[in-house]
């Protein structure tokens, strides 16, 4: 695997391979010295055009645990639009000698563009509303560790919230359905994609009728800016219709899992009590994120050898 740009580039077998590898790295991260020399002498740069402390930390931790050297580049897109093109920025960084570029950008397809221009491996760490493939993989790892290897077939997942603006939803839907899960979307119509042609999902308007049926509830963050325009009448109305309140959580099957990519808006899309309940996988998702990114860096940098 040269690059990881989007989930739809991956087959089910490839995803399974990455999940296996991730589980091996979870074991590594649990050692007393959670570091192996797999990528010694390799350089990984995180190229972030959008603020994201969490994702950057996760990638840099992953690189360091594989003994790679790391560099980081941050840029506000506003300063870049005036001057240097993305191509110039990327070529400058590549000239310093890097093996992998981890790209986060507010625009869809930015990582794809970068991959067309460089020899280094490119990992998409989130491109606009398009894709966030490592998030989808870490969600799958989290599910597999809770459910066991065969757990995806026929798994019923509902994704709730701002699907339209969500790269997590776009990559998540593809990943879950590739693995055999059945995905339902529940969202205000203003926060659904304009077209769902070709999406392997069903849409339901009534969260309360869906909840008792599902094995996994995947909640998306409601950004404050969505409340400013004509997309939503109010936060209160959103929470009353689409939030996982304590009352709604009580209607779930006892073993239903609750997932959230973070950062959570407690009291908006998820009640604090629900976020902190045993059904919630939120902290596991973050922990597994490091191992998944180790697996992705390991695979894209093509070491192919044994994990020490």
């Amino acid at each position: 695997m040269k690059h990881l740009l989007a989930i739809d580039d991956l087959s089910r077998a490839e995803i399974d391979g990455l999940l296996d590898l991730s589980e091996s790295f979870i074991e590594v991260t649990q050692r007393d010295i959670p570091k192996i020399p797999a990528l010694r002498g390799r350089t990984v740069v995180t190229l972030f055009f959008e603020e994201s402390t969490r994702t950057r930390l996760s990638f840099e931790t992953a690189a360091k645990r594989l003994s790679a050297d790391t560099m980081s580049f941050s840029a506000s897109t506003s300063s870049l639009t005036k001057g240097e093109s993305l191509l110039d920025t990327v070529q400058t960084i590549e000239a310093m000698g890097v093996d992998a570029i981890v790209v986060r950008h507010p625009c869809a397809g930015a990582a794809h563009r970068v991959a067309q221009w460089v020899d280094a491996s490119v990992v998409n760490a989130g491109d606009g509303r398009h894709q966030h493939p490592t998030q989808a993989l870490l969600d799958l790892v989290t599910l597999r560790r809770r459910l066991g290897r065969g757990g995806f077939d026929g798994l019923r997942v509902v994704i709730v919230g701002d699907i339209r603006h969500s790269r997590v939803a776009r990559s998540g839907v593809q990943a879950l359905s590739t693995m055999g899960a059945e995905v339902t979307l529940v969202a205000p119509p203003t926060l659904l994609p304009e077209s769902l042609e070709g999406w392997p999902v069903v849409v339901d308007d009534d969260l309360d009728s869906v909840l008792p049926e599902v094995d996994v509830v995947y909640l998306l963050r409601i950004q404050r800016e969505r409340l400013a325009g004509a997309l939503l009448p109010s936060q209160r109305e959103y929470t009353s219709r689409y939030g996982i309140t304590v009352e709604r959580a009580a209607r779930l099957k006892p073993d239903t899992l609750i997932m959230h990519p973070g950062p959570m808006n407690r009291g908006v899309e998820i009640a604090a009590e629900v976020a902190d309940s045993p059904a919630s996988t939120v902290t596991e998702q973050v922990a597994n994120g490091v191992a998944v990114r180790m697996a992705v860096l390991w695979s894209t940098l093509g070491s192919g050898g044994q994990i020490a």
Partner: protein, 433 residues
């Protein structure tokens, strides 16, 4: 005294029909159109047209020549050279320059530079000051300089009252037409591609077809209300075509143009994330492409224009959503029309030339262009080899910019010679100016 030019051995096609004839040109004017003409003097320049179509020079209602303000991307001279190579003898320069064409002095300077270039450069004028959509530009002063097409192109005149007043005021300016970039900004703003299955999948905010159709519908009502002439720039969406068709059926003073990219490409191209496919209005669906073709075939859409929109390379070396919209068109429009419309039988050759020459000449009020090719008429001609096969190579375009979405595409039909007021400005595919 320039020498005579004799265009020999071609098939002359204009609005009056077609015949095999040679065309003799003297002092910028067609002298004779007859079979088997011989040069009157040994100094006459003979241009071989064997196997070729001799047509009135093409007229582009819509080119961004970028001067003044963005001469790195294109200048009037380079844009006009690209136009001549594409068979055009007249191009209408769009007003979204820096400063914009809302001021007589700026328009006069564009016209002055244009006079020394390889095709006639016809300035459009802004509808509103600064293209801000608020106050009318000095339309009469611009009209006195020869401006006939008024447009804020690049931006829609969004305010219905401003559009109404522009249409009313233009009634007092003979030949004036108000040309609308029909995209409701409230619906289109922030969008980078057609809103639909592809935008939803790619996570790119869309510009819905309704943004165009809403303004088309509104402005048809305003044309009816005011009696002013409205022209719709770059029609791209199926519902808009139907609205214009219905308006014409009712006899309203409405015309429309479409671009090759809207009858040859779809929004699926955007999946490459290459901003060379970003344009406003955006590439739409196969159904829209079919509707544009049908509109061109039945005359609902009067003209094929280029929307030639050069950008320096670094402007497109950005993510799709950050890159500016627009693509080159002057050097590929004729060949795309021949390859994608004439060859498959969507348009006859004569109808294609109507959409590219005499119909747009009529809309812009350019009496010297669009034929007919007859004794006494200004010699603005293009000689087309309809069978020549070639491959678009962005490195070999005459434009200063390289942002063609057709790089590598094989096309059939190319301009062999272009004659501007009797002067061969393109000979055997080579620009002479």
């Amino acid at each position: 005294m320039p020498d005579d030019v004799l265009v020999k051995g071609g098939r002359v096609v204009d609005a009056s029909g077609e015949r095999v004839a040679d065309v003799l040109v003297r002092d910028g004017v067609v002298i004779e159109v007859e079979a088997q003409l011989e040069p009157a003097s040994p100094a006459a320049r003979v241009l071989d047209a064997a196997g070729c179509v001799v047509a009135p020079g093409l007229v582009d209602l819509h080119a961004h020549l970028r001067e003044p303000g963005d001469e790195d991307a294109e200048t009037i001279v380079t844009g006009a050279r690209a136009a001549a190579l594409g068979g055009f003898t007249a191009v209408v320069a769009m007003p979204n320059t820096t400063p914009p064409l809302d001021d007589p002095a700026v328009v006069a300077s564009v016209l002055a530079i244009g006079r020394a270039s390889a095709c006639d450069v016809v300035a459009s004028g802004c509808i509103t000051k600064g293209r801000r959509g608020e106050e009318l530009a000095p339309m009469h002063e611009l009209h006195q300089l020869g401006v006939r097409i008024f447009t804020d192109d690049g931006d829609c005149v969004a305010d219905a009252d401003v559009m109404r007043r522009a249409l009313e005021y233009a009634r007092s300016l003979p030949g004036a037409v108000v040309a609308q970039h029909a995209e409701d900004p409230a619906l289109a703003q922030g969008g980078s591609m057609h809103e639909g299955a592809w935008s939803s999948r790619l996570g790119i905010q869309g510009r819905p077809a309704a943004a165009e159709a809403i303004i088309v519908a509104r402005d048809i009502q305003l044309a009816e209300l005011t009696g002013g002439r409205v022209h719709f720039l770059h029609l791209s969406a199926a519902p808009s075509v139907e609205l214009v068709r219905a308006a014409k059926r009712r006899g309203l003073p409405v015309t429309a143009e479409s671009m090759p990219h809207h009858f040859t490409l779809t929004d699926a191209e955007c999946a490459s994330f290459d901003p060379v496919f970003k344009v406003h209005p955006p590439l739409r669906t196969a159904d829209d492409v079919a509707a544009i073709k049908a509109g061109l075939a039945d005359g609902t859409i009067d003209a094929i224009a280029t929307d030639h929109a050069p950008h320096v390379p670094q402007a497109k070396e950005q993510p799709f959503e950050q890159a500016p919209p627009g693509m080159l068109g002057l050097e590929t429009t004729l060949a795309l029309t021949l390859t994608e419309l004439v060859e498959p039988g969507v348009l006859s050759l004569a109808d294609a030339l109507a959409r590219l020459s005499w119909s747009p000449a009529g809309i812009a009020g350019l009496a010297d262009h669009g034929g007919p090719i007859a004794s006494g008429r200004p010699a603005n001609l293009c000689v087309i080899d309809p069978a020549l096969q070639w491959e678009v190579d962005r490195a070999r375009l005459a434009s200063r910019s390289r942002n063609t979405p057709y790089h590598g595409r094989k096309l059939t039909g190319r301009v062999r010679h272009t004659i501007l007021r009797g002067e061969p400005v393109v000979v055997d595919g080579v620009a002479q100016r």
